[in-house]
């Protein structure tokens, strides 16, 4: 008889009766992510010592703030075994929505932010509802959402709309000067806060436990009392909220709204989540890993800028290689642990 229950490729490890001992294999991908990031940082710093400075660190956070926030939402979705392809388009829609509203109405940006977050959260919730009610694959539903959001952005404007508002200028200039003249910007801090919120939601709430449960297997989760529909709606609503927030950050970062912005961000976010050690099939991963994943990708970009002679396409190539090695690492872990399991039988 085969040994149960390697549900959906989740690593099954050895039988133990002793307490403590070796590490939980679940943490391996996270530890690998952190190790790779530290190693990459060390190598980059060795070659360009200025990379090891608060300036670069501050920029790393600022430049990747919108991606980090998007990836927090994406992590939760992927942990539940789903996928959200609409996030890039929602970011573009958000920028356009803010720019057009600021241009055409006299509303304060904060009110517009609130309106926007309401819209994107509802949008996510609607996608989650469709996924559950129609029992449709998340891939298809959010793909439709991706086209829809991008289309609506185009409906609002086809041009890049600049944002000029005193409040925006204030947000753009808000920073804390770290020792070493590095700037910890408002959006950088916001991103870190978002990750913190994400960590709490995913690892410290009943909702988070339900998300992991769905990723472990919907039928089992239902048997254990997870309210599948409500949880699914909440997951995609969370992702919608985070994409809206990322859109706000992106508009602060670029100072404009453009319907063609953030094309492909959904895939970059998925890559960050996977490099961050989350199992693409769902059910295992850490929110903190996603932050490291985002920073690793940002670091590669920074290195290429520092080098100056390398084409920016190298970023894509390195990310591709990283992604592949992480998938192989996870497969390897599954293989290793099932083999050890097999020895026991």
């Amino acid at each position: 008889m085969g040994r149960l229950p390697g549900i959906r490729g989740y690593p099954v490890a050895i039988h133990r009766t002793t307490k403590g001992g070796t590490m939980n294999p679940r943490t391996f991908p996270l530890l690998a992510t952190i190790a790779i990031f530290l190693m990459a940082y060390a190598i980059c710093s060795a070659q360009y010592p200025t990379i090891f400075s608060t300036r670069v660190a501050g920029n790393l956070l600022t430049d990747n703030a919108y991606l980090g926030i998007t990836a927090v939402g994406m992590t939760l979705v992927i942990l539940s075994g789903g996928i959200d392809l609409s996030v890039g388009s929602v970011i573009a829609f958000s920028g356009v929505f803010i720019a057009v509203m600021l241009r055409d109405t006299g509303l304060h940006p904060l009110i517009i932010f609130a309106l926007l977050l309401l819209v994107t959260t509802a949008f996510g919730a609607a996608m989650g509802g469709l996924i559950d009610i129609l029992a449709m694959p998340p891939f298809i539903v959010t793909l439709a959402g991706m086209f829809l959001a991008r289309g609506v952005a185009y409906m609002l404007t086809i041009d890049s709309v600049p944002i000029s508002h005193d409040f925006y200028t204030y947000l753009q200039k808000a920073y804390y000067l770290m020792p070493g003249k590095g700037r910890l910007t408002f959006i950088g801090v916001l991103m870190l806060l978002t990750v913190l919120v994400g960590m709490i939601v995913a690892h410290r709430t009943r909702f988070g436990a339900s998300v992991f449960a769905l990723g472990g297997g919907v039928a089992t989760a239902r048997l254990m009392g997870v309210r599948v529909r409500r949880t699914t709606v909440q997951i995609y609503a969370f992702s919608g909220f985070m994409s809206g927030l990322a859109g706000i950050v992106f508009s602060i970062y670029t100072g404009s709204g453009y319907p063609l912005a953030a094309v492909g961000t959904e895939l970059t976010a998925i890559a960050a989540v996977v490099i961050g050690g989350t199992l693409l099939a769902g059910g295992a991963g850490y929110m903190f890993g996603t932050l490291i994943g985002v920073l690793t990708m940002g670091l590669i970009q920074t290195y290429i800028v520092f080098d100056g002679s390398l084409s920016s396409w190298w970023t894509k190539i390195v990310i591709g290689v990283l992604l592949l090695s992480f998938i192989l690492l996870q497969k390897g872990l599954v293989h290793l642990s099932t083999r050890r399991q097999g020895v026991r039988t």
Binding site: R3, I7, T18, N24, T205, T220, G225
Partner: protein
């Protein structure tokens, strides 16, 4: 006269059920439970009682109604009629969680916990201790530790569930079910993937719970375990209650009679072939030492032209697994197949098909038919697969084949383009047969060919099998219906505990001898070389 107080504690030996005879103090009583599905009556007026502090086995072959009964009890199905009472109160749970709240917990063969969460998360899922709205991890572990106490587990509840063996996961699942429900515990084939030591460990836990006063329903097809663990047993057959008795009052042979539904007195007529006929037929295939560790012990099988071989045994005895080894669905670790021309590869189904084998699986609905495709498409499926998709079978040829087999096998369908899912079970089975006949196989394996087919169609399928062999095709039939095997087969091989134990030929082929072989305690494995 006042009876001494202690006398009331003595079991009432007057009835066959002893102290469990009285109905009023039962923990759970089920009366006239009925549940129908389109085409079948899964439960037909079934009665069932469960006392506090007993382990009660629920037995029956596939389709007997065991799982339907359990599903009604756990709220997965709504019953059509009948009554269920828990501690005297009428209940009708509409979901698993409602059943849980009432006090009925279930543990399934495939552990229904989440392998990707920690043991503590699994145990406290949905009831995590919280502080300021956030899960309190420390308290969660403490509570979990408390829940597994008394189960003899020395485990770290902070680790992922998947890091522990299935037996431990099973016990953790029981701990969760008991903590959540606490009155009735249903164990549905809990030992199917455990080894002997693990089974003992699990049984110790179950006995402990029984002594704490839980009512435990134990579903298993391992009779040794039933005799080892349970206090009473109830047998269902074809959706009906057959018998409820104390386990100690039943012997193995009787029990098998109850399950398979034959009386000891009934002596069937021998098989349709005369003794000795078999050996006169030319040998076609010889399998020697085919086996796989943990699946079926190595066995030999010689197949002659035009014979029907029956494979008998209880559910889970290894009969289906034997067929799967022969057809390459499971790869045999040992042994080889030969025919007159030399070795025959049976490593994969493709190889087996190329060697002229056919296999109609047990679960027709999921493995046998493609419900949305037409009768014609289902018939040509295997033939087309063999040709390769680049060379489609001409439509005229398809139509001819379909029309031919609809006529030959008397498949009742308005036309060849009807979706097969709309046909009755018997006709679906005929289409599956037609699919393999179109391949012109020399060796056809039929796993439960009459399962889920109405009685009239049974005889037809049997007649069909008989006709097929006239042209020299050999057929291996697996069936729980012993009298069908007796009628259809020239030889019967009995499988027990994953071993081929006996071969019956000619006049020895009766339901009686088969049942005795199934019930026998210990026989050396059947290897032709040894005999």
């Amino acid at each position: 006269m006042l009876a001494p107080r202690f006398l009331t504690d003595i079991p009432n030996e007057t009835g066959p059920l002893g102290r469990w005879q009285a109905g009023h103090d039962m923990l759970l009583t089920i009366r006239s439970l009925t549940k129908s599905f389109p085409g079948t009556k899964a439960l037909d007026g079934v009665d069932f009682d469960l006392a506090a502090g007993e382990v009660h086995a629920l037995l029956g072959e596939n389709g007997a109604g065991k799982s339907t009964l359990i599903k009604c009890l756990t709220g997965a199905y709504r019953r059509d009629a009948g009554e269920m009472r828990l501690e005297g109160r009428a209940i009708s749970p509409s979901s698993t969680s409602e059943a849980q709240e009432l006090g009925i917990g279930t543990v399934y063969q495939e552990v229904n916990l989440l392998p990707n969460l920690t043991v503590a998360q699994n145990l406290t899922f949905g009831r995590e201790p919280r502080r300021f709205g956030l899960v309190n991890g420390r308290l969660q572990k403490l509570q979990a530790q408390e829940m597994v106490q008394g189960y003899g587990l020395n485990i770290d509840v902070g680790r992922d569930l998947s890091t522990y063996s299935v037996a431990i996961q099973q016990i953790i699942a029981i701990a969760r079910a008991v903590a959540l429900s606490g009155k009735v515990l249903i164990l549905d084939e809990p030992t199917a993937s455990l080894d002997a030591a693990e089974v003992r460990m699990l049984f110790d836990v179950v006995r402990g719970l029984r002594d704490r006063g839980l009512g435990i329903v134990f579903v298993s097809h391992f009779l040794d375990q039933v005799f080892d663990l349970t206090d009473r047993l109830t047998v269902l057959r074809n959706g009906q209650h057959v018998v409820t008795e104390r386990t100690t009052d039943v012997d193995r042979l009787q029990l098998i009679h109850h399950m398979l539904g034959r009386d000891l007195e009934t002596v069937e007529t021998p098989g349709h072939t005369e003794a000795g006929d078999v050996v006169q037929r030319p040998e076609m295939l010889r399998f020697s030492g085919i086996g796989r560790a943990g699946v079926v012990d190595p066995f030999d099988l010689t197949v002659h032209k035009g014979e029907v071989i029956g494979l008998a045994g209880l559910l889970g005895s290894g009969r289906t697994e034997s067929a799967e080894l022969l057809f390459g669905l499971r790869r045999a670790q040992t042994g080889e197949a030969r025919d007159a021309n030399g070795p025959v590869a049976i490593d994969t189904p493709q190889a087996a098909i190329a060697a002229g084998f056919g296999f109609a699986p047990e679960d027709r609905k999921t493995d046998g038919i493609v419900a949305d495709l037409s009768v014609r498409e289902n018939i040509i499926l295997a033939l087309q697969a063999k040709r390769g998709w680049a060379r489609p079978l001409p439509r005229a040829e398809q139509d001819r084949l379909a029309a031919d087999y609809i006529k030959r096998l008397d498949i009742r369908t308005p036309d060849a383009e009807k979706a097969i899912g709309d046909l009755s079970g018997g006709n679906q089975q005929k289409v599956v047969l037609a699919r393999w006949l179109a391949m012109n196989p020399r060796f056809l394996i039929l796993d439960e060919p009459t399962r889920g087919i109405d009685v009239g169609a049974h005889a037809e399928i049997l007649k069909l099998i008989d006709r097929l062999t006239e042209d020299g095709m050999a057929v291996l039939v697996i069936s729980s219906e012993l009298d069908e095997l007796v009628v259809a087969a020239d030889r019967i091989i009995v499988v027990r505990d994953r071993r081929h134990v006996t071969e019956l030929t000619g006049a020895a082929v009766t339901t009686d001898t088969i049942m005795q072989a199934i019930a026998a305690e210990d026989t050396p494995p059947l290897r032709e070389g040894v005999l």
